[in-house]
Amino acid sequence: MAKRQKIDIAVIMATAISLFVLLIVPVDNSAKLIPYIAVYLLIGYEILFKAGRNILSGEIFDENFLMSIATIGAFAIAEYPEAVSVMLFYRVGEFFQDYVLDKSRKSISDLVDIKQDYANVEVNGELIKKDPHNIKVGDIIYVKPGERIPLDGVVIEGSSSLDASALTGESMPKDVSKGDSVLSGCINLSGLLTVKVEKPYTDSTASKILELVEYASAKKARTEKFITRFARIYTPVVVFAAAFLAVLPPLLIQDASFKDWIHRALIFLVVSCPCALVISIPLGFFGGIGRASKRGILVKGGNYLENMAMVDTMVFDKTGTLTEGTFEVTQIVPRNSTKEELLRVSAHAEGFSNHPIAESIIKVYGKEPDTRKVRNVEEIAGHGIKALLDGELILVGNDKLMEKHGIKYDRVDKIGTVVHAAKGSVYLGYIVISDKIKIDTKGAVESLKREGVHNLVMLTGDSERTAVHVAKEVGIRKVYSSLLPQDKVSIVEKLLAEMGKKKTLVFVGDGMNDAPVLMRADVGIAMGALGSDSAIEAADIVIMDDKPSKIPEAVQIAKKTVRIVKQNITIALFVKILVLLLGAFGFANMWAAVFADVGVSIITILNAVRIYKGY
C-alpha cells in the first residue's frame, strides 16, 4: 500500500473515533463546536485546501469546492456532526473509489500489456538484460523459454514453439526454427532462441498493438461524449437549483425555516458533483477494448464498439474471409492445345502476380516461369492479364476478358474460379481453381444469426455459381457475384441507404484490396491482419488471426460493453435524481447525498469490471 493511502486510512480512523466520542460525550452541542471544527479540519483540510487553490485559479464547479461549501454550510446551520460525518463519508468513498479505479485500470492495462520490458544480449560472453529501446536493428538477442519475445526478428539459431495467444487470442503453439520470422509479444515455450532483430522496439508488433489499443481509448464513444457534455451542464444547473432552494421557499412559504431549506440546498450541492456520472463510462469502453484485444480482436475506438453493438447488416468478402483464400487447381481442360501449353501460357501470364490464384497455377506448372520472355504485362482489374509471350499476344483471365477480345471460349459451369487462356486469337482452354471454406465459417454465421444479425450478405468477384455454392454451404442468403472492386463500394452504399437509422452495417474483408469499402461501412473489419500494417491501418476493427468465429465474439463483447455502460448511466442518473427529489422534499439527509456521489461511483466502476472479467 502506498504511503498516501496509509495516511488516508489513519486520518479516516482518527476522525471516525473522535466523531464517535464527540457524539456520546454528554455535553451541550454548542460546547462541542471547537472540537468539531478540529476534527473537521483533520478530515477536510485536504479538500478545503484544494478547493481554495482551485477558486484562485478560477475553478468553481469542482468537486472539492462543492464538498467544502456543503460542509461549511452544515456548520453554519449548526449541524456539526453532519458536517464532519459527511466529509468523513466522502473521504471514505473517495478512498474506495480510487482503490477500485486503480485496480480496474491496472487489470485492464495488464490485459493489454504484451510488451517485454527487457531483452537479453551478450556482452563479453555473458547474457545481460538490456532496455529494448536501446536495441538496434541487426542486433542479436536471446529469448529464453518462458520469456516474451521483446522485438520482431528472425531466428538465426535454435528452435522452439511459440505461444502467440497475446496477439491472436489462440493458444495453439506454433513451431519455429532457424530462418523463421518471429513477432514480439509471443511467448517462447521450449527452447532458447537466438534472434536477429529486424524492427526497433517502438515499431515492433507488440508496441504497435499496445499503442493502438491505448489510443483507441482516447477515441471516445458517442455515449461517452454525451455523458461528459451532460455533466458539463448538470453541475451548474444543480448548483443554481440549490441556490434557489436555499432562498426562495423560506421567503415564499409561511413557517418555512431558512435552516431547513439551506439543509436541503446543501444536499443538492453534494449531489451536484459530476464525477459519479462520468467515471465508469470511459472505464467500461476501455474494458471492452481490452477484453477484445485479449482475444486477438483490436478495436480502434469505443465508437466502433457502439456501432458493432447496433449491427443489422453484415457484409462479407468471400475470398480469404469466409474461405481459406488458398487456391488449388482442380481441373485443367485444354482446347486446341496440350495441357502443358495451357499451363505454360497461364503460368507465364501470372508470373508477375502474387495473387493466390496465380500462385496456385504456378505451383501446378512446377517450374519458375521465365519472366524474361514476357513483355508488356497489363493487369486489367476484374478481367485478367494481357501480355506478350515471345512476342505473341496472350490473354489469361475470366469470361469478360475473352469476350472483350472476341475469343470464342467454353462457357464453363463449374464451382470455382475459371481461368481461360488464349494465344493470339486461339483459345487454349481453361483451368478451374477452387477455394476451401474455412472450418469455422458455418458456425460463425450461425452464431451471428443468434446474435440477431439477420441480414448477412456475401460479395465476390467470382462467378455466380461458385458464389451461390459457397453462400448456401455457409448459410448466407444474399449474394452479389461477378463484382469488380469498385462495385463493392456501390453495393455497400446501396445497403447503407436501405437500412434503418439506429442500425449499422459492418463489412468484413481481408484488408488488402478493400480499403475503400472498409472506410465506407459503419465498421470495417479486417481479418488475418497479423503482420500486415496496411490492413491494420485501413480497418476499424482488426482480427489478428483469420478465424471467422471471432466476428460473433466481437459482436458479443460490443453488446455486453454497451449494455453495461447504459446500465451504469441509468444507475447513476436514477440515484442522483432520486436523492435530489427526496432532498428537495426533505426526505433525504446528507449521507444519502454522499452515497449518490461516491457510492454510485464505486457501484458503477465495479459494474464496469464485469465487462472484462469472466472469460
Partner: protein, 72 residues
C-alpha cells in the same frame, strides 16, 4: 508530431474532459485527446513546439487537478 504521454494521478473523469478541452486551445496543438481509463494524453502538435506545449499542458492539468503530473 504525435506523442503519447502518461497522466499520473488523474482521478476525476470530468476533470479529464476539462483538461482535454483546454489543452486543445493551447497555441500549436493540432489535437489533444485524453483517455481517462488509460491515463494517457495523446498530443498532436506543430513541429518544434512540443516542449513548450507540454509545459503549458502541465500547467492546465495542475490547475484542474493539483496532483496530476504529465510524465514521458
Amino acid at each position: 508530431m504525435r506523442k503519447t504521454l502518461t497522466l499520473q494521478n488523474l482521478g476525476c473523469a470530468s476533470c479529464a474532459d476539462k483538461m482535454e478541452r483546454r489543452i486543445n486551445k493551447i497555441d500549436g496543438v493540432i489535437s489533444a485527446s485524453i483517455s481517462f481509463a488509460a491515463q494517457k494524453l495523446f498530443l498532436e502538435v506543430e513541429e518544434g513546439k512540443f516542449e513548450k506545449i507540454v509545459e503549458k499542458a502541465q500547467q492546465v492539468c495542475r490547475k484542474i487537478e493539483p496532483d496530476c503530473r504529465i510524465v514521458y
